[in-house]
Each structure stands twice: as structure tokens, then as C-alpha cells.
Symmetry: D2
Amino acid sequence: MANEIKKIGVLTSGGDAPGMNAAIRAVVRTAIYNGVQAVGVMRGYNGLINGDVIPMDLRSVSGIIHRGGTMLYTARCQEFKTLEGQKKAADFCRSTGIDALVVIGGDGSFRGCKDMAAQGIPCVGIPGTIDNDIACSDYTIGYDTAMNTAVEMIDKLRDTTQSHDRCSVVEVMGRNAGYLALNTGIACGAVVTVIPEVPCDIDRDIVTAMQETRSTGKKHFIIIVAEGVGRAHDFAEIIEKKTGIESRATVLGHVQRGGSPSLRDRVAASRMGYHAVQLLLAGQYNRVVAEKGQDIVNYDITEALTMNKVMDPELVKIAQVISI
Amino acid sequence: MANEIKKIGVLTSGGDAPGMNAAIRAVVRTAIYNGVQAVGVMRGYNGLINGDVIPMDLRSVSGIIHRGGTMLYTARCQEFKTLEGQKKAADFCRSTGIDALVVIGGDGSFRGCKDMAAQGIPCVGIPGTIDNDIACSDYTIGYDTAMNTAVEMIDKLRDTTQSHDRCSVVEVMGRNAGYLALNTGIACGAVVTVIPEVPCDIDRDIVTAMQETRSTGKKHFIIIVAEGVGRAHDFAEIIEKKTGIESRATVLGHVQRGGSPSLRDRVAASRMGYHAVQLLLAGQYNRVVAEKGQDIVNYDITEALTMNKVMDPELVKIAQVISI
Amino acid sequence: MANEIKKIGVLTSGGDAPGMNAAIRAVVRTAIYNGVQAVGVMRGYNGLINGDVIPMDLRSVSGIIHRGGTMLYTARCQEFKTLEGQKKAADFCRSTGIDALVVIGGDGSFRGCKDMAAQGIPCVGIPGTIDNDIACSDYTIGYDTAMNTAVEMIDKLRDTTQSHDRCSVVEVMGRNAGYLALNTGIACGAVVTVIPEVPCDIDRDIVTAMQETRSTGKKHFIIIVAEGVGRAHDFAEIIEKKTGIESRATVLGHVQRGGSPSLRDRVAASRMGYHAVQLLLAGQYNRVVAEKGQDIVNYDITEALTMNKVMDPELVKIAQVISI
Amino acid sequence: MANEIKKIGVLTSGGDAPGMNAAIRAVVRTAIYNGVQAVGVMRGYNGLINGDVIPMDLRSVSGIIHRGGTMLYTARCQEFKTLEGQKKAADFCRSTGIDALVVIGGDGSFRGCKDMAAQGIPCVGIPGTIDNDIACSDYTIGYDTAMNTAVEMIDKLRDTTQSHDRCSVVEVMGRNAGYLALNTGIACGAVVTVIPEVPCDIDRDIVTAMQETRSTGKKHFIIIVAEGVGRAHDFAEIIEKKTGIESRATVLGHVQRGGSPSLRDRVAASRMGYHAVQLLLAGQYNRVVAEKGQDIVNYDITEALTMNKVMDPELVKIAQVISI
């Protein structure tokens, strides 16, 4: 059965993330290594509906492992949300000999996988998002790069924050999840990190924390705010009013989505891309590849979409203890 | 006459800029090399009013050439704006044997120099600001680092802008001057750069430019907006409405002020710090050190403050020609 | 029993690694948070023998989380290798009230821990080395930064390698282990990575691989050589002779040891430093903190030193498959 | 006369340098803006001999301004060194309608321009080399990026050098010129920088300098050695023997040639590319574009090749004074 896959399509969907190109490269190379053809589907599920695909050979993925963004582009696709659109996409696959799909993206993209699977096209999902908000996987492609980008920017901000004895309130990405914010906060020595998973009382958790730290001699402060909890400008205004310390807001923004992927993202993407193709070749369809500790594992897509991820309470504790 | 300088104070004032530490280091080392003592004045002119100075030896400026910010901190000083404050500062210098000051900062800081000079304390100014808005000097310390920081951030932003076929409107610093924005725009391949020195008609200069470039096949766009011309969010909103291209605003913010100084800033700061002390030792008081082409020159402070800087019209032209 | 620890000494030993400062900071802050004093021991075990220690308060570890190297310095210590030296070190601890030690370093440093433990001073080790060659832990502090530094340098090298249609042979660190080399090779798209753990036949594994890849259109090549397998210059010479492709050697060298730690190293160091102190406070002595998957665990020092680490054969396979 | 140019060829020759792509882009865009066709000549003069050229439109230079290396590749060309080869190249230009050439490279490339000019093909040269060793121009494309790359690497090296109280001897590029080394030395706070232009007595200039600096409390040392003066390993060996300070050599190597160009290189390349085309369009043939202070100027190629560049003695002095 496994041998029936002769051509694999690969697409990226949802928000882009650094390392997606490395994953595409691994999918294409692993397919060709195993005697299977590869095609690139442009702009997410749109490419299946519009018939916008490109043949991929070994060299078409040369020189991309270190590039941010996605060489296959990405876009939302309204039409694919309809059953008609899904049928059209599946028909396109069948008519052009695309036997299976590898989809790199987040939960929304995986729901698209389920839809394609329902139309008879085997799929494997690879978690790619800077937010690390995919429940089944410890790790998602792009997460490490985005955090390092945030850290580098905040390190620069620290220079000027310190020179002026100020407080900088920095809004980082992460959608509704605080993983990116919490780890960035630990790495930057933020005095406080506000995340959606932990309720924050401004007086107790921010103002008092700043005052206590100030009493030990510290004169400048970095505060990280996850985008899911509110706007940095609002926090800065309140903090300045309550503490009397000049406070400035910075929104790191979409810069966090781009840039050359870190080693971790390139390696994770390479491993996941390799595994995705191996699954298809082994006849294991409609799975999501995931990182579990040091290992690459996989889950049924439907099961993966029902899982929950929990913020490690000890990490929250550590962030507090070492920021004093 | 020149030999009467036995102790030099150095301070940083106004907004901080990468390379200020390299300038402090050069001032201290050149002074000591010439048998003159050096003291660091903390938090700009405040240090002279509060008596907050630290003795500096060769090693107190070790390990700082590559650090952003300023080890002497910086702050506004209301009291120094009064004649009384200036007298107090000058009295402090006299009572502690500070024979002359080197002041690193912008035009506001140089006006402080004039005030100190009026009180009998010889001064030399060193242009330090990321905005490059000091008329007498081709170059100001921090300018190159700030632009490279902006460029690196926009290069990352380009990845995600391109992956999504979007338009990114990026607001960069520069106060009322467009130098930082224009050069950043050229370096990032911005399709349009809006600066205070050149009037901008949104329809003609932005919308039409984007449409013409789009007609040649380009699908993503970077637009740079100098902070002096308005808010990136407003531009993005108008552009999206007029072009139909999804447009996102990013405000690079204070990240541009920090970070390890670039080679150019370290070398310029080293040369300027050296020259500032040489001027004082040669009895040439109340001057501003400046870069003119490849050379380090100097001007009378009063004269320097009356000079005007003009945006190179050819550079504006080049930005347009090569962005098509 | 646990409560008897009133003062903890922290030292870094062996080769330095980025993130050691973050670990020191976590140790000091966690100790103080728990009402325990902290002292920094200078230059590894030398500080215990020479009595070179510094008291650490909350602010003495401010502004170091993002600094490479180690603020406590590091050095070999011949005297400590003798029983007499160990007694002297233990006596110093007892006479100055240092109740326990946290030692950040590699296997050699942990053997020092055992020696101190034998003299009655409780110790906890934290794995800190860029080589990732500590058997009990999936991860060692500094590893991620060193690899990212190598990757960034090789990315630059790729530009010139490609522009000239050359082969670059790059020697990376890792001592006798190939972890750093293999992951760097995957991340850089190296056509071949030579590591100590896998025998390499130059004709079959390098020359043929290059020729096959060249036949698909590739004209430039990156080859990674772990320091444990020989010199890059020798490989480059042989490769050029056998393939006719101009080949240049680059030895990345000690640059890989320095630089601001990556997010991963800062977070791992923060977690490990926190855990090390928690172990001491809980009366769990003579342990090594380790990362196991997502978790921080710990092992008996003697047991840890007898463990073996095995290179993941699948990772070796992936490196080959996706480099074609 | 000026109007007779209808098609311009652009090529890169000699060693590659970051910013060459930005120059190519500016040449192509300026040509097209002025209604002139552009073609890219592959692999230096080889492309003219082998007929390996590619048509360039506006979009063929999209997305390259931030890329290191050269999209047109570069290579030595033995055949072009013969008169016959030059005739062949000129014939190719005539037969394919290439009316003029823009050549980006160093002195060797400019001698090729002279040869093409002798065959009746108008040329303009653009200085592109990381060595800054082109006499007529204050600045050459790639110089700033290479120095910043060196500085970043040495900053990392400093961390480990300092942690171990060592001396690091760093060999940087620059061929027979010391510009890159001297500026890098100033920017890194090197205690000594050895360049070809200034004789060096190891005892007096290195050993004594280190000892004097050590007497003020400094324990680690960075020494920069230009490649034109000898091998870092030899210096390190002698220094360790004479001072007793552990000394390690690092050869930064070809990493310095690559990487994303700095803002300065992108802007200089954009301006020079623009000017090169303007010269051709104005009928000013066989010139070299050059930077003089803030201005872009140009010289007759023959004259340019006879000019000499002199190391600024004050910069040498500054390097010494501020390194104490």
C-alpha cells in the first residue's frame, strides 16, 4: 500500500515562520531520495484550487535552508473553507497525480488537512508557527527564531532603557499563548512577564515587583507583555502613573516573524520534513509530526487537534524568582 | 596656555547613541596618555549640579568600546537650563579642579556647552545622535548603528511581507530629519521613502509608484516613513484603502537607539574623542568636533549651532530611480 | 537537614561557554530568594585554593544574562588535582562558611565536584560546555549558541563559496564529539559532515557524494569537519586533488566559544541554576543537573560520570538524505 | 553621442564582496529607468568569451540588495589575459549589441576595462573589494561589511579571551593593505595592530605594549595582524614565549568576504551603480567611479590605476593612544 505514493505536494499555510523553507527542502529531498516526485503548491490551499503548483527537483530547494519566509508563499483561502472548494482541491490533486500532501502550518492548516483527508487525499501535517501553540508538539518550527529575534531586539532596547533609567514595556507575539513571552522574559531578565495563562494584578505583580527591585538598587526595568493580554502602550501608561518611572512602550511586531532561521529551527524542520515523507511512504496517513523531548513522534490529526497544551508552572515560578 | 588643563570631565547628554562609550573611552585614554586626569560626569549636566562624578583611569573604560548606551548615563536637566544652575555647575567644576569638559550629544547638549563656556569652563562638543541632524558634521556617532539596526529589522520584515504578498509600512526614527529614513530606504530597497525634507503626495508618490511597480510583477512592498512625517499606521490604512494591497504598519522604535556600535561608529567615536582632547590641550576651547569627508575638523560652537544641513537631492533621486 | 545550607559558592570551570553567566545569575538569585547567601569563586577551583571569592548580591548579577564568557573567569588548576589542594579548598570553604558549591562546567569540573564531596563539601554540577559531550544530559549550556555562531559564519562563507563555484571545508569545534558538527552540518546544508562517531571513507563518502550532487547541477559545496576527525586543511587539499574543485579550508576556532548566549542557552541556564540551588536546599547533594527532553532532572555525580552518550543514527541518516 | 548606448553589460570580477549585488541592481535599474537595456555577464570576463550572458529586467534584480556574494558569479579568466581573448570578448559585445560595460571589482578588473576599451568597448569601473586597496577611491564596496564581520567575530572572541585571561592573535584580511586591520583594531580595542604600512618590532611594539598595559591591570589582550604581515600562529607562538601569557591564534578567513552587506555598502553600491550608468549615458567612457569624502566622483581609468593610497598616520597614532 505504502508504495502507491508517487507524487507528493507540499504547501505552507497560515502565518509564515522561519524554518518553513528548511522543512520544504527536507520534504522535497526525502521524497526524491525515495524515488517519489515532489511538487510545490503555491500560496497555501489556494494553489490546489487555482492549479498553481511548481515541479520541484533537488536543486529547486538549494540555497533556501537559511532563508526566512516561505518560498511557496502563504495566504488565507476562503474558497477552501467550503466543501466545494475542498472537492475542487482534491480533484486537482487527483487529476495531476498528487497522491499526498505535506502541509506546514498551524492548527488551522491541520484542519485543512482533515478536510483533504475527508476527500481522499492522504495528508501529513508539520507544526510551523512562531507561537508554539500546537498542543501535540513540544516544539513548532519558527518558535526559536522568533524568540531569539525578540531577545536580540530587547537586548538593544536594554541599552537605551538603562542609559535613561527608564522602564520599557515590550509587547511580543504569541497570539493567545504565552510561551514566546515567558521564555523571552526569562532570557531578557524581564522584571515581570505578563502572559495570558497567569492572571496579572498590576499593583501586586508589576508595581510592587518594580518597587521591591528598585529598593535593591535597580533603576531600569524591562517588562514583557504577551500580545494576548493587552497593549503595551496601555501598560506603560499605567506603570508610569503608578510608579513615577518614565515608561515607554515598544511593539516588536512582525519583525519577529522573519529572518534567517536559527539552528534549532533548521534542524527541527529538517527532521520533521524527513519524517513527514517517511510516514506517507509507510502508509501512515493523516498524521501530525511532532517533537516530544528529543524525539520526533506523530499523532492522528483528529486526535492532535483535540489535545491541550499546559504552561509549565515551574517555568512561571523560575521567571519570578530570578527576576528579583 | 594649553598646559593649564589638568583635569577633564566628560559627559553624555540628550538621547543616548551607540558609540558614546567608545567616545568616552577615547577621551579618557587620550587625556591620561597626555598626563591629564579624567573624570566621568553622571547623567549629563545633572552630574555637575549634584556633584555626581567618578574618577576614570585607563581600566575604567576597558570592555566598553563594544557596548551600546552610555556608561555615564544620560538625562534631561531642568535646573541646568537656568542661569543659577549653570553657575552651580561651573562652581562645582572649579571647586573640584575640572578644568574643561567634553560633552557628547546633540545640539541641545552643545547649547549647554555654550552656557558652561559663558561661565568660564572651556568645553568641546562631540556630535553624538542617531539622527545625524547636527549641521556642522557630515556624521554623528550612532547614526550608522541605528541605520544598520533598522535595515536588519526591515530585512526580517521583508521575509514575512514577501511570503504574504503584503505591503509593510515601516516608521523609522530621525526626529525632524530624513537622513536615517532615506538611507535606510535605499538600503532596504523600499519602493517609497517619505521624509520631512521632500513633500509627499500620497496618490502620486505612493499609490502610483506601487501600481507601476506592481505592473512589472512585484507583489510585496516596503515603504519607509520618517517619524517626522506622520504615523506609519495612518499611512498603512490609507495605502490599503487606495491600493487594495494588505498593508501593515511597524514602528521600529527605541530598538534603533541601542545595540553594540558598528565599526563606523566605534572608529568615528574614537577619532572624535581623541580630537576633542587634543583641542583642549592645544588651548582651542569651545569648539565642536566634526567629520568632513574623511577628515576630522572643528568649528566654533556658536557658529556650529547656526549652520544648516541640506538633504542631498541626488540621493533622493537615486532612491526613486533604483526602487522601480 | 536541608536547612543547614546558609552560604553557597558558585564557580565556573574548564572551557567557558555562553550562558554560564545566566547560570551564575540564576544560582545567586535563587539562593538569595531562599534566604541563602551567595559568593562567587574566581577562576574555577583556583579561587578556593587562593581564597579568591567575592560576595554576590542581587545586583551583582544584573546586566550579565546576555553576556558571553563568565564573569567569574575560568582557569585550569593544577594544585586542585592533588589531594592536598582539595583539602586546602575544602578547608577554605569551611573557614569562610561556604556550605556547598555549584560548579558549572564539563566532566572534568564534575570530577572536581566529586573530590570536594569527598572532602565533605556538598556539590551540585551544572553541565556547561559548547561540545554537548556530557553523557547524562541531552543538553549542555553553550551548545546552542556555539552552533548558531558556527551556522552564521558558514552562512556568510556560503556567499563567497557560491560566487566562486568553490568547495569550503569548515572545521568546527566539539572536541571528540560530533554533535556540534552534525547539527551544524544539517543546518547549513553541508553536502557532507565528517564526525568522529561515523567512519569516513573519503572516496566513497566525500568525493562520490560531491560528484553525484554536481551531476544534478550544484556547483558549490560546504563540507563540515568535526575537530575530532582531523584538520580542515588536509581535507581541502585531498578534495581539491580528487575532485578538481577549488577547495578552501576555514577553521572557525574560538569565535564559537563566545558571543551573547542564545535564548535557548539563557533559558536552560536559568532553569538549571534554579534547580541546582533547589537540590542543595532539599539536601540532595552531589548531583548533576541535566536536561531530559523538556524536563530538568538530576543524577548522582558518580553515576553521571559513568554514563555514555550515543549519536542518534537517524540524525546521521537525515543529514545524508537531505544533502543530496 | 551619449545616446548611442542602447545596451549595457554588467559583470563582477575578482574576489567577491558584499554589496556587489546592490551595485548590479543599481546598474540594471538605472539603465532601464533611462530606456537602456541591461544584460548580466556571468563569471567575470569569462561570460564575454563564452557568450554566457543573461537578459536583466527590473524584477531580475529584486530581492538581491541584501544578499552577499554576487548573483553574476565571479572567476578568474586566463583567456581574457591574452589579446586574442580580449578581441573575442569585444567581438561578442559587438555581435550581441552590448554597447558598454560596467565592471565591478578591483584593480585587476579595471585593467580588464582598459583592455576592453582598447578594443573599442566603452567601460566604467566600480570599486568593489573588501580590502579598500583601490587608490582613487576613499571607499570600496564590501569594505564596511567585512570590517563589521571581523569586529563581530572578535567581539565574540573577546568573551572567551577575557574569561581565560589570554591573548588572542587575530589574522584579518586586507591583502597587502592594512586598512581593514587598522580600523578593525581600533574598533575592537586591540592592544596592538600590526599592518604592512608600519614596521613592527615585536619586542618594542608588542611585548612592551602588553607588559605596560598589564601593569595597569589588564589581563587579556587582543592583537590584530593584517594578512600582509605574516601568520597569526607565528605571532602567537612568539608572544606566548616572550610574555608568558597564553596566546591563541585565530584566522578569520573567508567568512569576512560574505554576509548580508551593511547599510554603508548597500548605499555606496547604489550610488556608484547609478553614477556608472550616468557616466556612460553622458558619453564619459573609460572612467572609474570613486567616493571622495561625501561625494561620488570619477577618474580616467588609466590615471586611476597609477594613483597611490597612503595610510593616514594620525589613525595609526590614535590606534596606539587609545589602546593603552
